[in-house]
């Protein structure tokens, strides 16, 4: 089999369109994963035991089942119950919810790292819980969370080809469509790999830089 530059050039416009969809999906899914993950982390610290237990089992269930199966259930099974979602919407929700179970652990660890004394100081100054979270706890908890959250962003980016299975024409499916039409996999799939590397290697380097920058805040004794 020989590399054909003709195929490579011909597939390029479709691939670029696919790349845009891939990046959009990554951004929307990661926003869902971050916001929902933070909410789960905070709710898991709730005083209500039934809340904590049910969240534990829900997150375990989501984390221990394959994303592909979740995609199929939401996209192909939910319509039977009258719930219709667009493929893209469905894909980013499933991806975002799946990864929120991981990001919630990052948030929880970051919040746990802020000492109990900080809560007590905030309370002694009469901060209400909202003010304590906003002005005392989160500003300390978030910086050390940024590197692991950036790593999950890269992982989510690499998982987006799964959306191809529910008809989203992202980078991988764009290449696959071309391959099916012209019976050549070499050029489209090689280029897909190159595009993924071009995005994920610089991102990983940024994540490493962040890791150095956001060391946990020092507390002198």
């Amino acid at each position: 089999m020989n590399w054909s530059w003709d195929h490579a050039y011909a597939v390029l416009p479709q691939l670029l369109k696919g790349l845009v969809i891939t990046i959009e999906a990554t951004i929307v899914a990661s926003l869902i994963a971050y916001v929902l993950g933070l909410a789960i982390a905070i709710l898991k610290m709730s005083k209500s035991k039934s809340m904590r237990v049910s969240l534990y089992w829900i997150t375990e269930f989501i984390r221990r089942t394959p994303i592909l199966v979740q995609l199929y259930v939401v996209f192909y099974v939910l319509p039977d119950f009258g719930i219709f979602l667009e493929a893209f919407t469905c894909g980013v929700i499933v991806l975002g919810v799946h990864f929120s179970t991981y990001t919630s652990e990052v948030f929880r660890a970051g919040i746990d790292n802020v000492s109990k004394g900080q809560w007590e100081a905030a309370k002694s100054l009469n901060y209400n819980p909202y003010q304590a979270w906003k002005y005392v706890i989160l500003p300390q908890a978030i910086p050390p969370m940024i590197p692991p959250l950036a790593n999950y962003l890269i992982t989510m980016f690499k998982e987006t080809p799964l959306l191809a299975f529910i008809t989203v024409v992202e980078l991988f499916r764009a290449a696959d469509q071309y391959s099916n039409s012209y019976y050549t996999y070499l050029e489209p799939m090689t280029l897909v790999g190159v595009f993924f590397l071009l995005v994920s290697i610089p991102s990983a380097m940024i994540a490493m830089k962040l890791e150095k920058k956001f060391k946990p805040i020092k507390v002198a004794r």
Binding site: S115, Q118, E120, A121, S124, L125, N126, V136, V219, A220
Partner: protein, 258 residues
């Protein structure tokens, strides 16, 4: 003078451990109190109950003429709501053993932020107040430093300024020099002595610094087993304790120190 703080038959347990056993205590407005006694005798718990960091199991606590952990609703006494506690906390400030400064804020921001958020002061008002207090605690040249750039003694003085900025009627000092290196203890105690002589704020301090307690306090309370064993003027307690347990504690303490 009125009692600004009153404990009536207050009990508190942690699991099986009874830290306060039907405690009765009255503190007059403006009084400076030193609480001494062995570890686990319930001294710190008293401060933490007043700061609403610990609940009580039984009895009543009053602050400034109102129940702290209860409120009246249609003539009935019910457990305090978060709103009630929020209102009551305005009367009280606390300084902790571990300083608990906010590490992401500079020293002066630590003192300004609570004023802006809680006292609804403007930024310039908060800054003016903070600078006045940095003068008082002798840290004017350190106000733009972050907590981790300050020594323990300096951090603790910032923490004192932060609590004072809220202008509480009652200040609680929980072993504020216990986490400090010995050479840094004095700079903090000096500030406390100055506060004690210059202000009419009611002060309760839990301390193991007996010499300091003697100078600082109008009244010394000796705690053991969740109860007040002995209370009186410092010169009486330290020079001529009436109770055997007090004598033993003071003797042991002085031996340990020397």
């Amino acid at each position: 003078m009125n009692n600004i703080i009153q404990f009536e038959n207050v009990s508190k347990s942690f699991g099986d451990l009874k830290v306060l056993n039907k405690l009765n205590l009255e503190v007059k407005d403006g009084e400076k109190l030193a609480l001494i006694g062995p570890s686990g005798s319930g001294k710190t718990t008293i401060l933490r109950i007043l700061m609403t960091l610990e609940t009580i199991d039984d009895g009543f606590v009053s602050v400034n003429g109102e129940y702290l952990w209860h409120e009246k609703n249609n003539g009935k006494i019910i457990p305090a709501s978060e709103n009630h506690l929020h209102k009551m906390r305005n009367h009280i400030g606390m300084v902790f053993q571990q300083f608990n400064l906010f590490p992401h804020l500079t020293a002066i921001e630590n003192v300004e932020q609570p004023q802006i958020l809680i006292k609804k002061r403007t930024k310039p008002e908060a800054k003016e107040k903070a600078e006045e207090l940095f003068n008082l605690v002798g840290l004017n040249d350190k106000k733009d430093h972050y907590p981790h750039e300050l020594s323990g003694g300096q951090q603790q003085r910032v923490a004192i300024a932060r609590a004072l900025a809220m202008e509480p009627k009652i200040m609680l000092f929980d072993e504020v020099t216990s986490a400090l290196d010995p050479e840094l203890v004095d700079e903090v105690l000096t500030v406390l002595r100055k506060l004690a002589s210059d202000t009419d704020t009611t002060m309760l301090t839990v301390t193991h610094e007996m010499n300091f307690a003697r100078e600082f306090a109008d009244r010394v309370l000796f705690f053991d087993g969740g109860q007040i064993v002995e209370s009186g003027k410092p010169e009486n307690i330290f020079s001529n304790p009436a109770e055997k347990r007090t004598k033993e504690f003071l003797k042991k303490f002085i031996n340990n120190v020397n």
